[in-house]
Symmetry: C2
Subunit: 379 residues, 2 copies
């Protein structure tokens, strides 16, 4: 079973006449995009917000997930009367290129062969993902987005919008992200990829044809990554050395500690909702991300056409995946480029995943920024 058959959101077919030209030099036609819309586009089409999801996220930001039945990953922020108010804004979220919930990716069939793409799928970049989003927005009749918002890899997409399509933006909110992947970021991704590719059920990427799934490898990849989403403090507070359903250690290799049980659960539930090859492709896109590369290392130059965009940046003090200095780095570049930026480093013990958690300071910052920006936009 291909994961994308589980998609229940609308899907649109793009790039039918003109193929999508990828950074790699390859092209794709057509490109399917799974997306969700909450709220109504106003007559001026001035109230659209694009939400960009993270590595293993999806378009189900506000409604329950078709596989897990869990609430949308940002449902605490998005909805009627909420901070990203769907009574006021038209909120769009699309599954990224290369993923597995309705958007074209390696688990989809290659129409030329009638078989799943597997590793024949072209390697993609964050810029390619954003190119697809820009085409979706255009197809939905939106010339200018009121705002583009995203955390983690979603934040990379926001930065890419600022670099590639600033003329289509009124406001932008990158959260807990970076303008390039560091050696340590790449290293963790490489461990995850090697774990997947070491699984014999991966079959050189052709597991869908083989009727198997590299579930164990993908689970290990998820476990390793999940540690980077938390902080040492968060793990200490949440689990410490507490034991799982026992009074003393069992002198064996079962999950004695709660943190082991938690990680195993994270790994085993992930494989039900995510495609292993999509994990390879999306992590690769993140590793390749370095906006300053296209302007000879001068990051500010990449944002030189974005000076009219209102920007709000949030980072988290305990985030060691995209730490505050990485966020400050692109904030400085945006300021150098003349962009009006509000930046807050929010004190939090919960690490990178803070952006997904209940945190009053996130709410206050987003609420204030969106209110003032919507007044300026006269929404």
């Amino acid at each position: 079973m291909s994961v994308d058959s589980q998609n229940t959101s609308p899907t649109i077919s793009l790039f039918e006449a003109d193929a999508l030209q990828l950074d790699s030099g390859a092209s794709l036609s057509p490109v399917h995009v799974g997306y969700t819309v909450h709220g109504t586009l106003n007559a001026e089409a001035s109230n659209a917000i694009l939400i960009c999801h993270a590595l293993t996220g999806d378009q189900y930001c506000a409604d329950s997930h078709p596989v897990t039945d869990k609430p949308g990953w940002w449902s605490r922020l998005i909805g009627p009367g909420k901070i990203i108010d769907t009574d006021k804004y038209c909120v769009i979220c699309s599954n990224v290129l290369g993923s597995c919930l309705g958007t074209t990716g390696p688990s989809e069939n290659n129409i030329e062969t009638g078989k799943p793409w597997g590793l024949d799928f072209p390697v993609i970049t964050i810029r390619d993902m954003v190119k697809v989003q820009a085409a979706l927005i255009e197809a939905l009749g939106i010339e200018t987005l009121f705002a583009v918002i995203g955390g983690s890899m979603g934040g990379m997409q926001v930065l890419e919008w600022l670099a590639s399509y600033p003329e289509k933006l009124f406001a932008a909110i990158p959260i807990a992200t970076a303008a390039k992947h560091t050696a340590q970021n790449i290293a963790f991704h490489e461990v995850g990829r090697q774990a997947i590719m070491a699984d014999p059920n991966w079959h050189g990427g052709k597991y869908l044809e083989a009727g198997t799934s590299p579930a164990k490898g993908l689970s290990v990849a998820r476990m390793a990554a999940h540690i980077t989403y938390l902080s040492e403090d968060a793990l200490a507070q949440k689990f410490g050395r507490s034991l799982q359903d026992r009074d003393s250690v069992a002198f064996g290799f079962e999950a004695d500690f709660q943190v082991e049980s938690y990680l195993r659960h994270q790994g085993s539930t992930f494989v039900d909702r995510f495609d292993a090859n999509s994990y390879l492709y999306i992590t690769r896109a993140m590793d390749y991300f370095d906006i300053s590369e296209r302007t000879g290392g001068r990051l500010a130059d990449a944002f030189k056409s974005a000076s009219h965009v209102r920007c709000c940046v949030l980072s988290f003090s305990s985030d060691w995946l995209y730490p505050s200095p990485e966020n400050k780095h692109y904030v400085r570049a945006l300021i150098t480029a003349g962009v009006r930026v509000s930046y807050t480093d929010i004190k939090s013990d919960f690490g990178h995943d803070s952006f997904l958690l209940e945190m009053p300071e996130i709410d206050r910052m987003l609420d204030g920024f969106l209110q003032r920006s919507s007044e300026a936009r006269e929404i």
Copy 2:
């Protein structure tokens, strides 16, 4: 081929009459120990230094490794005229219980079955390892060690000596370690163990009988662990986003970046010299390590008989595996217990592995402490 067949150091058989009683309640008899000795024990047997190795270390601290032919892992510090001077001291280093280079562990044959132990080997603890070291020291005719020295898991053994056999110590040097494993430490180890156990060539631990080796799983475990031995700064300085033998990314899943190539190399060379089950057992022993558990959470009480021991503690500012606060935690407990402690947090960009690197401040601290202590001991 069993890894322990590659041992070329002397081996001693201990616990032949009285079995080794393990913390788990199980017992082992006999226990083989692979060890090395450099220098000569003086007439008073007062100049012996025990070196304790880290997770994947071994007894080859000062001479070349029988498998890799690389210089001993601390050969820069140990040798004639060096800081740990083998013209003056008798330096002993033994392979820990559960490892795979001459000391009894899961890859050795169980004499009752004639087959490799595999997962039938009893789960061991750091205290069990130190119990074996104490028996070795006694067998070598040494009543009191001049010093016990070790970094990382070697430092845990030093702390265990301070808690369990303080009467046999004159001085102790724990480096870059902790008195307990944190949730994050356990989490990283669990990822490594799951990677090994996910490899079908692991065969439930019976790979030696099956004539296979879970090399891919062990390699992934090593890669994940290796990231924790370095620091983000070290990775940035050493590799950054530099590409491996190419001018631009290849849009594929080969090792585009130097850091990927480096990690793959770390993984693939490790499997030639280390046994996968030993990796499971030793990581488990580290996870179980929490000295304060035996004294109701009061760490200082565990050291209450060690007040006569001279202690020197080193930590490294960029170590995020056993960060400075974890080291300060046991330093405070030692001080509370009345132990005379010198403590230095050495500023270093190179992370946990700093203790294995050329670093003049390490040399100065060790040299000064050993000189003063040897004068006090009248060596």
